[in-house]
Structure formats: structure tokens, C-alpha cells
């Protein structure tokens, strides 16, 4: 079973709990221990400090390192901040960056079409998947609004808590562009149930390293009561297909 992790943070973050992995070496040790082949990685400074500088640090930290697939954090281009959509696409192409992560709550901006329409049109046109954690959205209604405002963009939402099933089920039903990161999807039998109702294609394996548990994440897939094909799709198939469709 080949695992490719869709959510890993490199770089030195501000707050660490005792014994939490921090360095790239510690992350790689966990990836090896959990047999995770490669990981889509973004940089801690891009989330917590300077977005553009953090994206550059990521290029340095992953230079010639085939274990990591590069992911940039994006910001809207208001008052000349960050990059224009054209500059972003050019930068992604030159540096083989294949996906985008956004932090609308942490970085404080609107997801509505009046603000992000142009940006999301580019994501749709170039089939670039957009990654977010569930707590970056104001509510499940905000999630539904985003998914329906931009139906042609694939969104991968991670860290959905086990308490959200009644809120997420109807959204999964209505929004085929809604994918779930399985890292902390701990609902009892959740992976199996989702396969039954929505198909394995809707789930992307991720861990949330270094603050999420990789061991728990791989176990959730290995021990799930689903077929081998379904496990493989979740573990790496869906992500690889999505990233292969990116046109830059």
C-alpha cells in the first residue's frame, strides 16, 4: 500500500507542545515509520509569518528532495499584496508547485466571489486543487457557499471533527468538488461509511504532520473495513490523479 500524505508542514513553527516532532528529520522518521512515501508540504512561515517569504523558504527546504511535493500558501492580491494570479501561476510552473493551501480565517479575507472570483477562476481553469482545514471556515454554511460558488474547483478539507457528520453529509451529497482529508477522521467506521455512501474517490489520505498523528492516520486506512482498491485510492490514488490533472 503506497501512502502519499496530502498535508505536511515543514519549517519551524511558533508554538510546540512537548515531545511534538519539529525538524524535517523527525518528520521523515515518522514518514518512514508509517511507510509514507511522499508528502505534499507547505511551510510554517507561510502560515504564521510572511506568506511569500514562507513559500520561498519551502523551495529551499525541498530543493532536490523527492519526498516532498511542493504546496504554496496563497493570499488575495489586494492593495498589491502577495502576487497577481498571473504571477502566482508563473511561479508555480517554474518551481513545480502543484497545489495551493489557504487560511481564510487565520489570514483574514473574504471567500466570496466579489473578492476571490478571479483567483478561483484560475484555479478551476488550471485544475489546481485547493487545500484548507475545516477550522479555517466560519461554518458549514460558509463551506457550502464556497463549494457552490466555485463548483469547478476541487477543495480538500482536512481536520473535520467527528461531531460534524450531520452538517457534512448534505454537503457531500450536493458538492462533488468536496473532498475530505482523512487524517483525523475518527468517526467510528467513518471511512467505511463514506465509501458506501459517496465512494472512496471523495477521500484523500493526509496526516497533518507534525501536529497530527501519522500513525493514527495510516491505521485508519489500513484497518478500515473496505476493499484493497478503495484503500489504495484513498492512500494515494485520488491525490495522484488530482495532481496529474493540474495544467500549468
Amino acid at each position: 500500500m503506497r501512502f502519499i500524505d496530502a498535508r505536511c508542514q515543514l519549517g519551524r513553527r511558533c508554538v510546540i507542545r512537548e515531545n511534538e516532532p519539529v525538524t524535517k528529520a523527525e518528520i521523515l522518521e515518522l514518514m518512514d515509520r508509517c511507510r509514507i512515501e511522499r508528502a505534499v508540504a507547505y511551510h510554517a512561515i507561510a502560515k504564521e509569518g510572511d506568506v511569500k517569504a514562507g513559500n520561498m523558504e519551502l523551495l529551499k527546504d525541498t530543493e532536490g528532495d523527492s519526498r516532498f511535493l511542493r504546496q504554496w500558501v496563497a493570499l488575495p492580491h489586494t492593495f498589491g499584496e502577495f502576487m497577481s494570479v498571473e504571477e502566482l501561476l508563473k511561479g508555480m510552473k517554474e518551481n513545480s508547485v502543484s497545489s495551493i493551501r489557504m487560511f481564510p480565517k487565520t489570514h483574514g479575507y473574504s471567500l466570496k466571489p466579489y473578492a476571490l472570483g478571479k483567483f478561483m477562476d484560475a484555479m478551476a481553469e488550471h485544475k489546481i486543487p485547493v487545500f484548507m482545514t475545516y477550522n479555517e471556515l466560519a461554518s458549514e454554511d460558509a463551506l457550502y457557499a464556497m463549494l457552490t460558488d466555485y463548483p469547478k474547483v476541487n477543495f480538500i478539507i482536512s481536520d473535520v471533527s467527528y461531531r460534524e457528520e450531520r452538517k457534512l453529509f448534505p454537503i457531500l451529497e450536493h458538492c462533488p468538488n468536496f473532498h475530505i482529508g482523512t487524517g483525523n477522521y475518527v468517526v467510528h467506521g467513518g471511512v467505511k461509511t463514506m465509501c458506501e455512501y459517496f465512494g472512496a474517490e471523495r477521500m484523500i489520505f493526509d496526516t497533518g504532520l507534525p501536529t497530527g498523528s501519522a500513525a493514527a492516520a495510516v491505521s485508519l486506512i489500513c484497518f478500515a473495513e473496505i476493499s484493497e482498491e478503495e484503500k489504495t485510492l484513498i492512500a494515494s490514488g485520488n491525490l495522484e490523479r488530482m495532481l496529474s490533472e493540474v495544467e500549468l
Binding site: 519549517g11 519551524r12 510572511d50 506568506v51
Partner: protein
């Protein structure tokens, strides 16, 4: 000095030593800052005849402490004599030692922002190694001291490390009563004027209650603009000598410039 004339003709003040004890470089994640790199900060300082500003890096406080302190070192390097540096520790990293930065020319103090670092109280023992160094060298330590609890924690540090010079950032306006109270009990506590919005007369109240000698000009530049705080001090109804002390003479003593 005819402060009004300077302002309303848009002419930066002349003949006044202006030293900003509370500056920043580097981006801040929750919202967009205008011109947060060293060049922008230097440009504004030169335009406004500001003789010097001590900056800490926002990423050093809220993100990667090493990357951030390097950012400060680069800024100090680029504008020697104009941009001075605060080094900032991080309590979560045992290997975090900011002495190498304090040894660099141009680094003149320490900046602590417990709130951004997992809301760690500033008198948390994990900050003590930094205070020991500051105490040995008699350095100023600028605290983010917004809430009165933060002011009291900073005052606790002032008492434990009497050889440091503690600057209560923002406290002149927010937790003012607590700040005034602790400033009376500790003579190594100073109060800066860095705040985005407060009413006129706030500066007059500070000078009246704790004396101009204990108030230092700080603007929080690049977090927001320094102009409005400068204007507030310039047009405050306090004597010119008090304005000169606040604008820079006090700081000159604090930072032994």
C-alpha cells in the same frame, strides 16, 4: 518650537532628536501591513526626520524565531545607525539562545510578546535565561503589555532583574492605571506611547501622573504608521522640554546611544 507650523505645512520636525523604541519589521499573518520591510521603515524614518528606531521581527514573535531574528539582523545591517535591533526569544525551543544576536553591533535590547507565543506569561521561567543576559548587560526589555495582567507580569520581571530597563509597550493607553501603579514602585519601568487609537489628552495624563522622564516615544511602526503618534505628542499640551524627553532624550539614556 512651533510644532503646529511644522505639522500643517507637512514639514517633518527639525532640531529634535527622535528615537522610536517600538518598531517592527516583517509581515503579520492576521492582516496586511503596509511596507513592512526595512527599506519602507527606513524611508518613513528618513522622511519624518526620525533619528533611529529599534525594531523586532513580527515573524520572530509569531512564527520562526530564528528566521525572524535574522530578518532583524539584515535590517540593522542595511541601515546602521538608523535601524537598531531587538532580539526575540521563543520559550518553546530549548535550543533558543538569542545572545549571538545581542552580540551583533546594532542590537540594543530584547522584545518579548508572550501573547503571540501561545499566550505564555512574560514571567514564565522559560524566558528567564533571556532576562539573565539582559540583566547582565543592563539592556532595555520591551514587553507587549496590553492587559493589566501582562503589565503585572512585566513588573514582576522588573523586580527580579533590577539591572534591566523595562518598557511597557502600549500600556500608556490600555492598562494605564496598572502601568502607572507599577511605574511608581519600580524606577526601572518605562511606558511607551505605541497605540493605534486613543483620545487626545492621554499623553498629558501620562506626563502628569508619572512624569515625562518615564515616558518614551514608541510608534509600533509598520504594524501601523508612526505619523499619527508623532502628531499626537507634538500637539499635546505639555512643555517643549517634556516633548523632547519623550521624543528621544529619554530613549538616548535608556539605550545609551
Amino acid at each position: 518650537m512651533n510644532w503646529e507650523q511644522y505639522i500643517f505645512e507637512g514639514k517633518p520636525f527639525e532640531g529634535i532628536y527622535i528615537f522610536d523604541v517600538h518598531g517592527h519589521v516583517g509581515a503579520h499573518k492576521p492582516f496586511q501591513l503596509g511596507g513592512y520591510d526595512a527599506d519602507s521603515v527606513a524611508k518613513t524614518c528618513r522622511r519624518m526626520n526620525v533619528d533611529g528606531v529599534v525594531v523586532s521581527s513580527l515573524p520572530a514573535l509569531a512564527s520562526d524565531w530564528k528566521w525572524g531574528n535574522e530578518e532583524v539582523a539584515a535590517s540593522v545591517d542595511a541601515y546602521p545607525g538608523l535601524i537598531w535591533g531587538y532580539a526575540s526569544p521563543n520559550p518553546f525551543y530549548e535550543d533558543c539562545d538569542i545572545t549571538p544576536y545581542l552580540d551583533l553591533p546594532g542590537f540594543v535590547g530584547v522584545k518579548i510578546h508572550g501573547d503571540m507565543q501561545g499566550s505564555t506569561p512574560v514571567n514564565d521561567p522559560r524566558y528567564f535565561p533571556t532576562y539573565e543576559v539582559a540583566n547582565e548587560r543592563g539592556l532595555p526589555v520591551l514587553f507587549h503589555a496590553w492587559l493589566s495582567a501582562e503589565v503585572r507580569a512585566a513588573a514582576d520581571v522588573a523586580r527580579r532583574y533590577p539591572n534591566t530597563k523595562i518598557i511597557l509597550g502600549h500600556s500608556g493607553m490600555t492598562a494605564r492605571d496598572t502601568a502607572l501603579e507599577v511605574a511608581r514602585t519600580c524606577d526601572n519601568i518605562f511606558i511607551d506611547t505605541a497605540i493605534s487609537s486613543t483620545y487626545d489628552n492621554a499623553i498629558e495624563v501620562l506626563v502628569d501622573k508619572v512624569g515625562a522622564d518615564r515616558v518614551v516615544y514608541g510608534s509600533d511602526i509598520c504594524f501601523f504608521d508612526c505619523i499619527h503618534t508623532m502628531g499626537k505628542i507634538a500637539l499635546a499640551r505639555i512643555s517643549d522640554t517634556d516633548k523632547e524627553k519623550i521624543f528621544g532624550l529619554n530613549a538616548r539614556g535608556l539605550f545609551s546611544l
